[in-house]
């Protein structure tokens, strides 16, 4: 680590004083700079007659088109139209209403209102259709006046009917081909490198400080004869970060079992408790010490985020563990946990992919795994060729992304081709 050259303390102090003074004087200034809230005037309402003059009626919408909604599971039809010429700001169209009639054996049934759209809209998706049935649609332009939230009068003009049309389900969502290709490409990379690794190819992996320190941290606890706490985050087993955390727990538990150090895993999800118990037990028997495993090493506290944090705080303060691991998904409680751990003097190693919590782990813990590093940990700690292979595949994916970004930016900047559409997953 490189340090700034020491400046004169006097200068620092003076500068600090200056800054503080500045801050406060400006704060005082800021509160003095008040502003009067603006007055709002009340709008007046005009009253209208009961009989509606003809000019209040809007022109109808035209060119109504209907088609089956694409890329869906059926049951919906898109209705599109061209706006009524009167549909202008402050114009005669207040809303559109969509009417629909079923067509059964050539007989048209009654038109029923099935929905509405605001003025300015040109598309309505009717999501209430039955596949295989023929429908006919009409769009109505409506002008109305409401007062006190009651409709005073209403004038509506209908469009020409459109249809018949049927809805149906599609078997393949064409808009998502790109995502499919991307995922497949990544899978191919990963599987390719896994097979290569199995074949015995050496794979390099860069040093990750946080993971290098795991062994040392466990060792320290052994020397001091104190406990190790392992906090696998507050998410449930349906979260990939928890799964990564549990994987690392396996390795830590093995080390702890070897050193005969008490590893305690307080959890806040029942499923995690069940899994963590299995993992710790397995680790103990793996290093040949199944007798040292104790059921109470892994225990449940509460599902509640802060209830969990409060309980762990108490445990940390009272039992003063030598080492604390935080591996998994964390939310706001991260800082409570890490600060209390720090104040109690424990060595702390954290890893999470929750970006908002990272700064605090970085501030309060001795080592922090940032984002993706958490997912790499299992490969890193076990050095199993298969896992390292998948890592290499992941990196290849990154390389492709980097190249894509580079090419894309060049193409887009010089207006050669709209490269970004390749990645579009929204229509």
């Amino acid at each position: 680590m490189k340090y700034y050259p020491s400046t004169s303390a006097r200068f620092t102090a003076g500068f600090g004083c200056f800054l503080l003074a500045l801050l406060f004087s400006l704060f005082s200034l800021s509160v003095l700079a008040q502003e009067e809230p603006a007055e709002t005037d009340t709008a007046s309402l005009s009253v209208t007659p009961d009989s509606i003059p003809l000019e209040y009626y809007p022109l109808p919408p035209t060119n109504v088109r209907v088609k089956d909604a694409p890329n869906d599971a059926g049951g919906s039809i898109d209705v599109q139209w061209d706006m009524s010429p009167d549909d202008v700001p402050e114009g005669k169209v207040k809303q559109y209403r969509i009417l629909r009639a079923e067509l059964i054996e050539g007989q048209r049934r009654e038109f029923i209102e099935i929905g509405d759209a605001t003025a300015g809209a040109t598309l309505f998706t009717d999501g209430n259709t039955e596949d295989g049935l023929d429908y006919i649609y009409k769009v109505v332009a409506v002008n109305s006046l409401t007062q006190n939230n009651e409709v005073v009068w209403e004038a509506a003009t209908e469009s020409m009917p459109a249809g018949p049309v049927r809805s149906s389900a599609q078997w393949f969502d064409r808009q998502r081909v790109n995502a499919l290709v991307g995922v497949l490409l990544l899978c191919v990379f990963i599987i390719y490198f896994i097979t290569r690794a199995r074949a015995g190819k050496e794979l390099f992996i860069r040093k990750i400080a946080g993971l290098e320190a795991v062994e040392e941290a466990v060792g320290r606890a052994t020397e001091m004869g104190k406990k190790i706490f392992y906090i696998p985050g507050i998410s449930d087993m349906d979260n990939m970060q928890t799964i990564a955390g549990i994987t690392i727990l396996g390795k830590v538990a093995e080390l702890a079992a070897q050193h005969e150090t008490w590893l305690e895993v307080p959890v806040c999800r029942s499923l995690v408790m069940v899994t963590a118990k299995e993992v710790v037990k397995e680790a103990h028997s793996k290093v040949g010490r199944p007798d040292t495993f104790h059921e109470d090493q892994v225990h449940y506290l509460t599902d509640d985020q802060f209830g969990y944090a409060a309980a762990i705080d108490g445990m940390v303060v009272r039992e003063k563990p030598a080492t604390i691991f935080f591996m998994g998904e964390f939310f706001a409680e991260s800082l409570i946990l890490a600060e209390t751990g720090n104040a109690s003097g424990a060595i702390q190693i954290a890893g999470t992919a929750a970006p908002a919590q990272l700064p605090f782990f970085i501030a309060s813990c001795d080592f922090t795994l940032i984002g993706e590093e958490l997912f790499v940990a299992s490969a890193y700690l076990s050095r199993e060729p298969k896992l390292l292979g998948s890592l290499k595949g992941q990196d290849m994916g990154k390389a492709v992304i980097l190249v894509a970004i580079l090419i894309g930016i060049i193409l887009e900047t010089f207006d050669i081709w709209s490269f970004s559409t390749l990645f579009s997953v929204i229509d």
């Binding site: 490189k2 340090y3 700034y4 400006l26 800021s30 599971a73 389900a169 599609q170 078997w171 393949f172 969502d173 995502a179 499919l180 990544l186 990963i190 896994i194 449930d236 087993m237 349906d238 799964i243 990564a244 549990i246 994987t247 727990l249 396996g250 999800r269 029942s270 408790m273 069940v274 899994t275 299995e278 993992v279 037990k281 397995e282 449940y300 509460t302 599902d303 802060f306 944090a309 409060a310 800082l335 409570i336 890490a338 600060e339 720090n342 992919a353 970006p355 700064p359 605090f360 984002g371 993706e372 958490l374 997912f375 790499v376 299992s378 896992l387 998948s390 992941q394 994916g397 990154k398």
Partner: protein, 200 residues
């Protein structure tokens, strides 16, 4: 299967994630019994063996039983205003969780006092970014920089940091995490990563 579902909107694939969500919810409901029993077991052990702090274990057991019995006996509408469960929620649970949340305000200050030092260039960057965002986001910021042209005021600077360099960093982290998740998922699916299935 869920991968397929994303691309094929047709029945029965479109139903699959619904089923999964329901099944998962049901499994969770069963699993929490395990957790609660575990908590009770440990607390009761504490009381029986008269370990230090066993009095508090009694409180845990009592409050747990209190709310569980009330909640289960009040039936489906247990959450409606006016029930005892709701009372416990509003006057016991809420103050506790809100305060635990609020206590962070103190910790955040002490963490910044203790740990945010301009130790090296990276740390200085972190500090500067934090400084500009903190000061730029509250009205004080604009008063301080009021003498500068509109575009260079602190609030705009804060916005600029948020919209550009911050976004870039977030994006790199996001893509990294996504790749990490995809690759971990794949390892799970292929059965290479099976620590979570210990014992097989």
């Amino acid at each position: 299967m869920f991968v397929i579902q994303y691309f094929i909107p047709h029945y029965p694939f479109n139903r699959m994630s619904h089923w999964f969500s329901d099944w998962f919810a049901i499994i969770l409901a069963c699993a929490i019994v395990l957790g609660a029993l575990n908590l009770m077991k440990i607390s009761i052990q504490k009381v029986i063996k008269k370990k230090p702090g066993w009095g508090y274990a009694v409180v845990i057991i009592a409050s747990f039983l209190l709310i569980t019995i009330i909640g289960l006996s009040e039936g489906e509408g247990f959450r409606e205003p006016g029930t005892w469960f709701d009372w416990l929620y509003v006057y016991v649970y809420t103050p506790c969780s809100s305060t635990m949340f609020a206590i962070l305000g103190f910790f955040v200050a002490s963490a910044s006092y203790r740990a945010f030092r301009a130790r090296n260039f990276e740390a200085t960057l972190l500090l500067l970014a934090a400084f500009f965002v903190m000061i730029g986001r509250v009205p004080v910021g604009d008063i301080i920089s009021g003498f500068m042209p509109e575009g260079a005021r602190l609030s705009n600077l804060a916005s600029w940091i948020m919209t550009f360099p911050q976004t870039a960093g977030q994006r790199a982290i996001m893509i990294g995490i996504a790749l990490g998740i995809v690759s971990t998922s794949l390892r799970v699916i292929l059965g290479i990563e099976r620590a979570h299935l210990a014992g097989e």
